[in-house]
Symmetry: C2
Subunit: 607 residues, 2 copies
């Protein structure tokens, strides 16, 4: 225990030193959990820091990402980084950012938006049990403030439901949030009652008593049929009188770090031998017999969401690493087809979109390729998780069905009209919006190969198949589906079909419209668009989306960047829609063929 | 009981009829809760349907918004709508949309994105107790599938913490979701244990036993120190053998509605006398002594987030209807200043952004004017709630602090770089991004007057005061802060100051740059931008935001709409930032003065 006590003090001292060197950071939130981490490092954690991607390694997630000084101090104590690097904390160019990100090889996912680490931990633990089929453990350090996030309780429910006995949550109940006391202070029983009700094993301890901590880890690692939470009563800033258990000490370096270091017994240079994983070996591999992507005959009709389901099922036959998750709408997104073909790689996440995305992030951290689907409108529920997934450098695929007013009668709550904008504004994202079945199916393997977050928008209603099955589609490409030199119509998905109808109407008037299928909204095909700007008298963009941030803005951005000075008319949904038939709503929104043809005429007349 | 039994059957029959007439809808999800609503309407609910905005009225929120056929059937039974209108369900132009919206005067908020009605109900109940100070009750009908949403558990925690004895949640546990059974089926004890652990009074009943329902409402309306949940075991499609308790019957009209109606005893035309509120009277009014908005002297420095806090505190002195909510970062957003001055109108929502926005939506439904604040990055946590608030025609104000790479050391998890895009893509929204203290403070009264959702983006660091206190700012306006005819620089917030520095650099080279402060990103000042396009040789836009959907795209949209054919260079953040000093990160992102001046030179040289 003496070593552990010293180790804990070193973690505190190093948290104080790193924050002092940075001039910012969260030392007090680190000091409360130092004892918990010291005991974990010394004998409990099984992680080979020299081989961070070893499949059998345990995973340590700091859901309270602001305790990064503690995490980095652990890395130093484990010999993974040296003291010089520790003191680069928060400096420009350092790997030791203000909140942890996976540019550090021992960090699976970025944290810092509270309430995300535990749901991601559920994803890692699901991966361990069902995908990797390895006995690693997932340890998640949570703060008590973040227990107010609903996503934490999605995680509690799913972890118990899935019997994740390989998951241990450690809650650092230091009672003090950023601005004051949490709702429940040191009422460990409150948290325990909720966790128990969810089906977790609960352990309440004094988080500064090394023997209690040891006993808690003993208990947490004995066989069980579900996850364990250790609720640890701690003091923020523990060990330094000037800050211990005091308000207004959040998120700032200590006023007198030298005095604090002295009070903590001075600088140490202990190294802890973190245990290596006991079971070596590779992750489980599923079989994938191979096979063709679905083929659809020209002129038939199929909804792109259904082609997604059929395509994903086929992709699962070709790639053993592909897994699917759905938010309890798999019969609408057609991910049910994947579920039925590959039940062992399908995850029903029920109506918990945040947990769904977090689970996908956890799975991709172990090199699986998740496809997560729900109504496009409801992906907005998990927007912060998608945002953070980009900071995590996650490689994953999202599918949102039922986009736009074209869904019809269900009304605006179910209509995604902001998804192109919000998904384009995710760092490094890919945004695709196919218009037919073959295009949809053929984009899926490319999504599965792509780095970063790719998003596929699909439609509710059936649309005609306009591409032959042998046509190929690149991310970043487009298709000129009708040639013409007078004016250019740019659509995607539902509005591509309206644009084709508009071209028919214009042709009757002797106007030859070029129609571009801009199925890759991001990245966007600047060459084809620039050519169209140079070769035709104007451009009409049309999208089943609000006017802001979608397909039209993607086109304008290209034209501005290339100084293509051509008149552009952007058609989009301006008024809040209600219920109605799809055709009625497309007409009302001014994005149907007639509206497109009218806009084209106005551009040509210089109106 | 005979009347209630008949009434319940009428609600079922009308749900079947409305869905059959529409050819879509959710009759089976309506039939499970018909008994619960029949007893509620007959003697429990106190709502004067002829005076829907009567302050003393109870509130009835269908959190399971897809049970709209049941809600509309209740309205018919209460005499609020007639049978002819009932049968317009889901038709183009009808008020009876697929999911309820407030175009119906008895609907407070739009639902249909699951897990939102209960958190909004918490907002209404908070309003009743603390703002209106009226004894109305808030009844929320929840589905069991939506109990998987974390936001529901944010609501459970907050309602108990706030002692909302005026809130009754009725959970229609019909066990069947859209695709299959829920995680917990008919395990009422599971839900009860969680609710109890949160501090709720729980009642478990057979939801088809009218006497048990009556007794449950009796119990739910006896004095208590907190909220009550009635967990009702029900059968989906109750009363019709072809669908009752069967899978795959979700979200579609019955195959044989005539047979179903016959089985339910035929069409009835009962009217129920819904009780009127027993206590008449107006909502409480707070005092507002009046006073000045804060004044900042030219050349001093203040962070716009601090000016927000000082301005909001002053606004609270002028407008008694202004209330503030914060996500446990009030010392960062400076909403703490409002809290200290007006504690009775401040709501600490802890780290539960979804519940924060939902509470604001509930408050505005009772005509209070909420200002809800947190870090701009964390508003993304509640994006679906903001989206739905627009469908609710909500009038409310949001403030997001700590925008962009300019926050510095905290790193990308805390940097809002997608907020302009996501907030612009909210229907009818206003997006403001002030650069100095006076501008910030003067925009607040206009936000408080504006219809719809207005969003104010503020900065972490102090910026120079460049406008005198007497300057006025309109939503939809802009300011030419420096005149010049050679080139135009467009910035806002932090980048407006960088643009001014760039203009200085360019002036040294003899280039006269016009600098536009585009503080109103939406709506945007097309006149001033068009003038600049016509009068200068090009435009450089610069924003501390991803390239997609923000300030630059707003400018391009205006120029495209007006055929202003001028070269535009968009500067924005392209690479994922890390930690560093603000100046280092602005430089790395290519959005500091030097980068702006360089881009201006390139435009002028036609590069």
């Amino acid at each position: 225990m003496m070593f552990r006590r010293e180790l804990a003090q070193q973690l505190r001292v190093d948290s104080v030193r790193a924050s002092a060197a940075a001039g910012s950071g969260h030392p007090t939130s680190s000091m409360s959990a130092a004892d918990l981490m010291a005991v974990l490092l010394d004998g409990r954690l099984r992680l080979d820091f020299s081989r961070p991607h070893e499949p059998g390694n345990d995973h340590l997630v700091f859901s309270k990402g602001h305790a990064s000084p503690l995490l980095y101090s652990c890395f130093k104590a484990a010999g993974a980084i040296d003291d010089t690097e520790l003191l680069t904390f928060r400096k420009f160019g350092s790997r030791l950012e203000g909140h942890p990100t996976p540019i550090l090889p021992w960090v699976d996912v970025a944290t810092g938006s509270l309430g995300q680490g535990l749901p991601v931990g559920v994803g890692l633990a699901l991966t361990g049990k069902r995908l990797d089929q390895l006995p690693y453990r997932v340890w998640v350090l949570c703060g008590d403030s973040e227990m107010a996030e609903g996503s934490i309780w999605e995680a509690f429910e799913h972890a118990a439901y899935s019997g994740l006995d390989n998951l241990v949550a450690i809650v650092d109940v230091n009672r003090l949030g950023q601005t004051g006391e949490t709702m429940h202070g040191w009422d460990l029983d409150y948290y325990a009652a909720k966790a128990k009700a969810c089906g977790w094993r609960t352990i309440e301890i004094d988080g500064h008593d090394l023997e209690q901590i040891e006993a808690a880890y003993d208990q947490a690692t004995t066989p069980s049929d579900g996850p364990t939470v250790i609720l640890a009563r701690t003091k923020k800033g523990k060990g330094v009188g000037a800050v211990e258990d005091l308000p207004d000490k959040h998120g700032k370096p200590l006023d007198d770090p030298d005095q604090a270091i002295e009070e903590l017994g001075g600088v140490r240079d202990l190294t802890v031998e973190v245990a290596k994983p006991t079971v070596e070996g590779a992750a489980h591999e599923f079989s994938a017999p191979g096979g063709e992507l679905p083929h659809y005959d020209l002129g038939t009709e199929i909804a792109t969401r259904k082609a997604y389901g059929e395509g994903l099922r086929a992709l699962g036959n070709r790639r053993p690493d592909v897994v699917a998750l759905d938010g309890e709408v798999s019969n609408s997104t057609f991910s049910a087809l994947f579920r039925d073909a590959h039940p062992e790689r399908y995850f029903e996440m029920y109506i918990a979109e945040q947990q769904m995305i977090a689970a996908a992030v956890g799975m991709q951290a172990r090199n699986w390729r998740p496809f997560a689907s729900t109504f496009a409108a409801f992906l907005s529920r998990a927007y912060d998780f998608v945002r953070m997934a980009a900071v995590s450098r996650a490689n994953m695929c999202l599918m949102g069905s039922h986009a736009g007013v074209a869904i019809g009668e269900d009304g605006p709550s179910q209509m995604a009209l902001e998804d192109l904008a919000s998904m384009r504004a995710v760092h490094g994202s890919i945004v695709l919006y196919p218009c037919d079945g073959n295009q949809t199916a053929r984009l899926l393997p490319q999504m599965a190969d792509a780095d970063g977050i790719s998003y596929l928008r699909t439609s509710r209603g059936a649309t005609p198949v306009i591409y032959p099955p042998e046509e190929s589609f690149e991310i970043g490409g487009s298709k000129v589906v009708r040639d013409g030199g007078d004016i250019t119509l740019v659509g995607a998905g539902v509005t591509l079909h309206e644009s084709l109808r508009a071209a028919d109407l214009l042709a009757e008037e002797g106007v030859q419209a070029r129609v571009i299928d801009l199925y890759s909204v991001k990245p966007v095909d600047s060459v084809t668009l620039r050519e169209a700007a140079a070769q035709t008298g104007g451009i009409v963009t049309v999208e089943d989306h609000w006017p802001e941030g979608g397909l039209g803005d993607a086109v304008l951005d290209v034209l501005a960047a290339t100084d293509s000075l051509v008149p552009v008319r952007k058609l989009a949904v301006h008024a809040l829609p209600g219920s109605g038939k799809p055709a009625e709503l497309l007409q009302q929104a001014g994005i149907d063929a007639e509206a497109i043809a009218k806009a084209a005429r106005q551009v040509l007349q210089g109106a």
